[in-house]
Amino acid sequence: QDIKIGLAVSTLNNPFFVDLKDGAEAMAEEMGVEILTVDAQNDAAAQLSSVEDLLIKQIDVLIVNPVDGNAVVSAITAAKDAGVPVITVDRAAEGIDVTSHIASDNVAGGEMAGDFIAEQLGEEGNVVELQGIPGTSAARDRGKGFNQAMDKYSGMEVIARQPAGFDRAEGMTVMENILQGNQNIDAVFAHNDNMALGAMEAIAAAGRSDEIMIVGFDAIDDAREAVKEGEMAATVAQKPGLMGEMAVETAIKVVNGEEVAEYTPVPLELITE
């Protein structure tokens, strides 16, 4: 039979979500189902509108990667009202039940990074946190996990916290300025690899690569490369492509009336070499 899947992505301006979308689309093709993708460009209101547009096209199931966990509730309600089951991917919806949620645990990922840094520094050192876009669940959760980890070690101190928009150029500028104001920095944790890579350029330009270890999040290609070269200490790998594939598989099961798990964690992995 013809299955029509709607996929609403938060933004395609970030390779992470391009991977997610590519994974989903590849799986859809393999399974011979139709998939319609819309992109909210990081605007919660635009996401609601584009989900409404998908519902007009009478999709059988909605996969949504929320711009924001709270704001997405309206879109999910609209889908449910139209009798369309919903699967969330990468970020969760808050305060509403969905048929299935597929994501890595960002809090756990943040904590994983924090523990790694503490361990490497012998539980003592000054750390800089480069935050993601304020208000996004990724920034919130990774920050939460990371700071939970930091609180565990009395010798670890977060000496600067600045948002850098998940953006590479901003990551570099913010890091440059932080470097000017702080002579003793032992590590940087960035909420994503883009910012980590920007910070890495700033640190290299300041000639302080040897003193400062950098940990990112996402394991995008450039970051994996940097870890291999020893320029970054680690990156927390998510598997966006896999997430996309799993979401489509789950979606098809839902349409066919099969049982699916409420939450499917996608494995996180700390890449250190």
Partner: protein
């Protein structure tokens, strides 16, 4: 004689076409889309589109007035976010009654707009810079107030304004049409409206005609802040969440709607009916491209191209 008559008729036809050309543009777009997608010309989808347009439309009404006076307001998106956040905060954090909270939210937007107006009218600063600064400052306020986190969790009363219906008609659509009607009347039938056009046409002459132009400009910017607040509250209610980054970039959509609707960026001519059509063109385009499953990157190109084309055709027809 006959010839003359013909000429007059031809001229009249052109004039009428000119007057409604934005509408005609919209009609053509709608026709094309209804051939290309079977989903497009259905009642649910059309309701869907007008509901989607309401947020941008309401700010572009205010923007129309500002631009009519020869000004500009880049801060609408930030004022929208701030008012939404304040309203949400009053409900969720301070536990105020929904209506009181809404009043406070509206007052917040109006106050920011008032500040813009005073800086433009009294301190004689360029509107572009004043509102650029306000865009940054109000965003900062919003982030500080929300601490960068969305504020969520409203009861049904509040959700009514953004997500409710009266009959089959979504509440935001009704609010939008009421505001459209009020502002249309204000612009066309009241002295304030006339003065708005006069200031955009020739501020000096208007002042020398005994009109307190400063007060009118201040009123217009304040009103614009108020309308941004209305939009912000509707959006917050519709999303069930006040997003600190809400409304980012909306100023450009609003300005595009105003200009597509035939209001001159240098002020003095145009109106709010054109603006709603301009806003609809943008919304229909977004909706249509989604229905046609155009990839979002190509959508950007298409959107830009259509705006350019529309303004180009508008210019052409004026030259005739």
């Amino acid at each position: 004689m006959n010839n003359l008559n013909n000429n007059i008729n031809k001229k009249n036809v052109i004039e009428i076409l000119n007057k409604f050309k934005t509408g005609i543009g919209l009609l053509i777009l709608v026709t094309v889309l209804s051939f290309m997608s079977p989903y497009f010309l259905t009642i649910p989808n059309l309701l869907n589109v007008v509901r989607q347009v309401s947020i941008i439309a309401i700010i572009s009404f205010g923007m129309t007035m500002v631009i009519l006076t020869g000004g500009i307001d880049l801060s609408v998106g930030s004022m929208l976010a701030f008012s939404g956040a304040v309203t949400a905060g009053m409900i969720v954090n301070s536990g105020l009654n929904v209506f009181v909270a809404i009043l406070i939210g509206l007052a917040a937007g109006t106050a920011l707009g008032l500040f813009n107006g005073i800086a433009v009218a009294k301190a004689k600063l360029p509107a572009f810079i004043v509102t650029l600064a306000m865009m940054t400052v109000a965003r900062g306020f919003t982030l500080i107030y929300t601490n960068g986190r969305p504020i969520s969790g409203f009861d049904e009363t509040f959700r009514f304004f953004g997500a409710g219906y009266l009959g089959r008609i979504p509440v935001p659509v009704i609010i939008m049409f009421i505001l459209l009607f009020i502002i249309y009347i204000l612009l066309k039938k009241t002295p304030l409206g006339r003065y708005i056009y006069a200031i955009g046409g020739n501020e000096k002459a208007t002042k020398l005609s005994g009109i307190n132009t400063d007060r009118i400009k201040i009123a217009v910017y304040a009103l614009n802040g108020f309308l941004a607040a209305v939009s912000g509250i509707i959006l917050t209610s519709r999303l069930n969440s006040a997003q600190p980054m809400a409304g980012e970039g909306y100023e450009l959509d609003a300005i595009a709607a105003v200009v597509l609707g035939g209001t001159s960026l240098s002020g003095g001519s145009g109106g709010v009916v054109g603006t709603i059509i301009g806003a609809l063109i943008i919304a229909v385009l977004n909706n249509g491209l989604n229905l046609l499953n155009v990839s979002s990157f190509y959508q950007l190109v298409a959107k830009g191209a259509v705006i350019l084309l529309a303004v180009f055709l508008d210019r052409k027809s004026q030259q005739q």
